[in-house]
Symmetry: C2
Subunit: 696 residues, 2 copies
């Protein structure tokens, strides 16, 4: 059955609206949960206020940045306004602004619901683990549904109206550039607060986590929201948009050969079905009789995967889509699962690596670090093989369809991996909500039983995070390989216009490519270093402030009735520091991309993107996994193993966890976004790089 | 003036013999220095015995390994013996054995002189810094001259007799495979002993470095010899041979076009002049009036560089060599200096990074680690840009000469960087000799004045190491880019023989290339992880043994007269452990290369080598520089800054140093060798990969 393209636009829009409906339903459901504890509400409000203040200030900075970029786009892209057609420039600039706005909105919605759900989840925990789980999960799902719905709606509208690849890439670039800074800013904020609170609280004073005497404790909770909720939301909004955009740019080029737009139809159809599958997945999530929250989260992920595979197979049959492309999508989905399981092996405290690191900690922190770094390095192998094999298979499956389809297959594999992104975000946002709930339960004195429940919920969040993070990194890997294809497609489009020879690829033996390769490979390392040094600087400032408060505020250390620390000062330090540090790293990577492009032209950029992808994947996997591993090794010891809390092994493990924090929550996950942004910059600048360059 | 090729062979052989003469002269000079202190002689003998025992056992293991590989080569390479001509197989196997033997000999000679020079340098220090410096430096120069002389002689003989690229590559592979395991084994030994001695001695018990009560102290000194002297000697023997081989393989192919063998003549001429320049440099090294050993070491490096540039310019003019190729060589030399200076910036305690890390240590070990890793990441950028730019320039300068010359230019740039390798080795081997001398002075109670002198000599060794390491890594980077060219050259040779189409390069958009790229990039990480886990496991065993001795040997801790620890037990643990751990990591990288080759053929291998080079450079630079930085941050604090010895900052810095030790002395420097080995395996297997593969 062949239907017009419009039918699929309508399908995509309807499913988006449906997901908004689900989000609204969950939002009201969460909001209407019972809450009565004044103390918790009060602290909850503090957290909400802190989060919103940071977000407002961050968006203020980013708004100005986006304004400048939009202006540059208007004048120079896709071609200088005096050379091309001004219309295109306006479309691209507007798409860019729309991308940044929707990405920002995704973060805002997440914060909005997360700062309500944390209070409700804490209260619900007094009634048992099941209701509390449901509040946390549905709170996370609001974000999941809203983010994926708006990304699908945005891409659909931009494509429907413009039918122009530059506009689609502009939209995606808007989403990415906002995500880059939001992720970096949130990541610096959250780890500044987390590290400082832990170091002074746990290590120096020996007071428990989330103790209200600790001046950084509210900042820590705010950090969970602005980093893990808002930052992560913007990040996955971006990944989802980027994977659709890469597929669209190539699909459009292929559709020009006149196959009734089957490729673009397929993209919108699959994306809509992925969101539908996720919606069904989140609606059906419940804790089983045995009451294991990890199982509940993982099983809804698997259900979503199965539903997506079935729905797309049905659609492929019904609409006469190409089965080979469905195969590529399915490969992406399958390999995503494998990568997730591999990440889980290296970070799960039932497995060898975590236990080995915990044991090594008995010989001191140097061994915690050495063994953790070693396992982090080892952990990259299965994922790199997984991504490499899935790219190879997707390519080979789709190559027989015709010229250009092989690369398109890789883009569809990336879409397959990201198809269940709605579910991934729901799981991911669940984490900080129950983490906050735990903090509120502690500060609100809800008692040990409730703390035990929130602890269990929190630990489930950490465990599933490994699987979903594996998915996210794998998908980003494939997406950026696909973006390399999109870049080539854009270069050739420009080459045709200018009457230049088309390029067929990027030869490693070409020294311009190799030159780009080496520099591109260095960027993720430099980028991570800049973010981590930012956290390092900021945390030292905050530690000094906490020391000051404990020294100057009489009765604080002893926990005297009525003595409260100056929470706001810590929030302010984290905010100011994060705002100062979030811009340079991102700008550095964009500027170096421009330099390489204007020095070595498109060949150097081909190498540059490749080096960036390869080393970006390597470092992102290494940092995420070793960070997760250290976190869980510490928890494993805290559970009474290898000496338990307060032992030397525990102190060493805390050092590991502190190093791991910015690894896994600041630098590691930002690298994906950095690589995506750079790839998109390359694509939208393709015409300029082709026209102006020093060598080659 | 055009001379026959034989003239240049004779030149190379004569200069090799001259360098042996210089080595012999220095050896006897060092040996005839005065020594009288019985206690020092006794300990010196202990160190010598331990080093020789380890070397004998290590070479036993490696001999068997090399035997097996030689047999495999005999049967299968360059082509299965039943397919090609058996003669070639015999030549290649014999060349391989010669390569391993000379590489092993280089290590043996180094140990021989280093274990004499340490005693003499300690005694000479009682007479002042100048004589002690000269003993240390000339001891190191014996190794420098012997290693470079034998590598030049070996390559010259193999080429002269066989005129066959397979035999040259076989010789190089022999040198590399021995270096790989010698470096890994020595690196694991030395860091096991170093870490354990420091942790228990300095951190737990608070006894000084090199205190004779510490059971691991002799093992630590043995480690300096087997790791830093023998391992490093084998490593640089290998780099030098590999860079000449890569140039030769390409030069021979170009010479077939009939230009009177100008390329191969030039290679031998430049290599001989490089050794000559180094010989002049080491002969002229003296400490100036101001008595600054760092200046003495650096200035002889600069002198050597200048002499080499002048001599090769003269030769180019005299023998009508191509000036453009001379230009490429000069670029290599110049960029080597720049990379060295950049490494120096990140590891010198007069510069910002070291001071920042020292200051961060005041907030605890987590900050030492985080800031050190961050600066390590930052430090890769200048070197990667340097290598990229020099490759680009060398390529563009030589491209106009004719097809194929561009890549040859890169090989010559690598040779340029390595031309002063004789000087580099002399500087490098100086380090462990004066380090040992310091230990002997402490154990022999030579007094504080002597300790101050040996400390100053030791610290100079650490500082120049940064510059020479930068050179070595940069040269390795260019060499392996050139080896990629050699690989393509070998593939095309085989393709011509088999009547297959020649390849023109490796296109990144080919999924086989990308597949190889991703897996190749993971290998250095996995390889480093395996070595570091080896150190980690081994050090834990040794720490347990030291604890046992302090517990069971009565009077040891208190330093009771006549009570000696059981030094041999610690040496034995380090030896046994190192022998067990040194094989798997190397074999893993070779096996995965074979797998990728037989799965994806030569295209996948092209990607694999590229990924390996890029991530290998990234990790080697990161690990070497952050390791050096931590070491110097610790020394900076020990010099009385940021709280000084015994402060919390110092304890944190010791953790950093302990993490950095296997970074900079085990994993980091082994990565170069790993990448070289893999590149050579690819080249010698080229014909087989072309004939048998699953995909493509």
């Amino acid at each position: 059955m062949e239907l017009s393209e419009n039918v699929f636009f309508i399908l995509a829009i309807l499913v988006s609206l449906l997901s908004f409906g689900v989000a609204a339903f969950f939002y009201h459901w969460v909001k209407s949960r019972h809450s009565s504890n004044k103390r918790i509400e009060e602290i909850g409000n503090h957290i909400k206020k802190g989060s919103n203040t940071f977000l407002a200030r961050e968006y203020g900075v980013l708004g100005r940045f986006a304004g400048v970029v939009a202006l540059l786009i208007l004048v120079f892209l896709p071609q200088p306004i005096w050379m091309g057609s001004p219309n295109e420039n306006v479309l691209m600039a507007v798409s860019y602004i729309l991308g940044t706005a929707l990405s920002a909105l995704a973060g805002k919605v997440g914060i909005q619901v997360a700062t309500i759900a944390n209070v409700k989840a804490a209260e619900a925990a007094t009634k048992g683990i099941k209701p509390s789980f449901l509040v946390g999960f549905r709170g996370g799902s609001v974000m999941g549904m809203a983010v994926v719905g708006s990304s699908l709606l945005g891409v659909t509208l931009v494509y429907m109206i413009t039918k122009d690849s530059s506009a689609v890439l502009g939209f995606s670039f808007g989403a990415s550039s906002l995500a880059l800074f939001a992720k970096a800013g949130g990541g610096i904020f959250t780890k500044t607060a987390d590290i400082s609170a832990d170091l002074v609280g746990k290590v120096e004073l020996g007071i428990p986590e989330d103790d209200p005497r600790n001046p950084a404790v509210i900042a820590d909770n705010v950090g969970d929201n602005v980093g893990d909720v808002a930052g992560m939301g913007a990040d996955l909004f971006d990944s989802n948009v980027a994977s659709m955009s890469a597929a669209l740019v190539m699909g459009m080029a292929l559709d020009r050969t006149g196959n009734a737009m089957q490729n673009t139809k397929m993209i919108f159809c699959y994306a809509a079905l992925g969101l539908l599958a996720s919606a069904i997945g989140v609606l059906s999530a419940r804790m089983g009789k045995k009451g294991d929250p990890t199982k509940a989260l993982n099983s809804s992920t698997y259900i979503t995967t199965a539903i997506f595979a079935a729905l797309t197979a049905g659609a492929t049959w019904l609409f006469d889509f190409e089965w080979r492309i469905w195969g590529a999508t399915a490969i992406g989905l399958g390999v995503g699962l494998i990568i997730g399981i591999a990440s889980d092996y290296f970070t799960n405290d039932n497995k060898n690596p975590v236990r080995h690191v915990a044991k090594a900690s008995k010989s001191g922190p140097a061994f915690t670090i050495l063994s953790g770094i070693s396992y982090g390095f080892l952990s990259v192998l299965p994922s790199m093989i997984g991504i490499g094999v899935s790219a190879l298979l997707a390519y080979n499956i789709c190559a027989p369809i015709g010229a250009g389809y092989a690369m398109f297959g890789i883009a569809m594999a990336a879409m397959g991996m990201l198809s269940i992104v709605g579910m991934i975000i729901s799981n991911d946002a669940y984490g900080p909500i129950v983490d906050n709930a735990r903090g509120l339960a502690e500060m609100g004195n809800l008692g040990d039983e409730v703390l035990k429940i929130t602890d269990e919920l929190d630990s489930a969040g950490n465990t599933v995070k490994a699987v979903t993070k594996g998915f996210a990194i794998g998908a980003a890997g494939l997406t950026i390989i696909a973006l390399l294809g999109a870049f080539m497609s854009e270069v050739n489009l420009a080459a045709i216009e200018k009457g230049l020879a088309q390029i067929t690829g990027f030869d490693i033996m070409n020294p311009l490519v190799f030159f780009g390769l080496l520099i591109g490979a260095a960027i993720p390392a430099v980028f991570s270093a800049m973010l981590m040094l930012g956290v390092d600087r900021n945390a030292q400032r905050m530690v000094a402030e906490i020391h000051r408060q404990f020294k100057e505020i009489i009765g604080l250390k002893e926990g005297k009735e009525g003595v409260v620390p100056e929470y706001d000062k810590c929030i302010d330090i984290a905010t100011t520091g994060a705002l100062k540090e979030l811009i340079p790293a991102g700008v550095m990577s964009i500027v170096i991309t421009l330099l390489v492009g204007f020095i070595g032209g498109v060949q150097a950029i081909g190498g540059f993107l490749t080096g960036n992808i390869v080393s970006g994947l390597l470092l992102a996997l290494f940092m995420s996994n070793s960070g997760g591993l250290w976190d869980n090794a510490k928890k494993y010891i805290e559970a009474g193993n290898d000496g338990g809390k307060g032992s030397d092994a525990h102190k060493a493990a805390v050092v590991g966890d502190t190093v791991g924090d910015p690894f896994k929550d600041t630098a590691g996950p930002s690298i994906n976004t950095q690589v995506t942004v750079v790839s998109l910059v390359a694509s939208i600048m393709a015409t300029l790089f082709l026209s102006f360059h020093l060598f080659g």
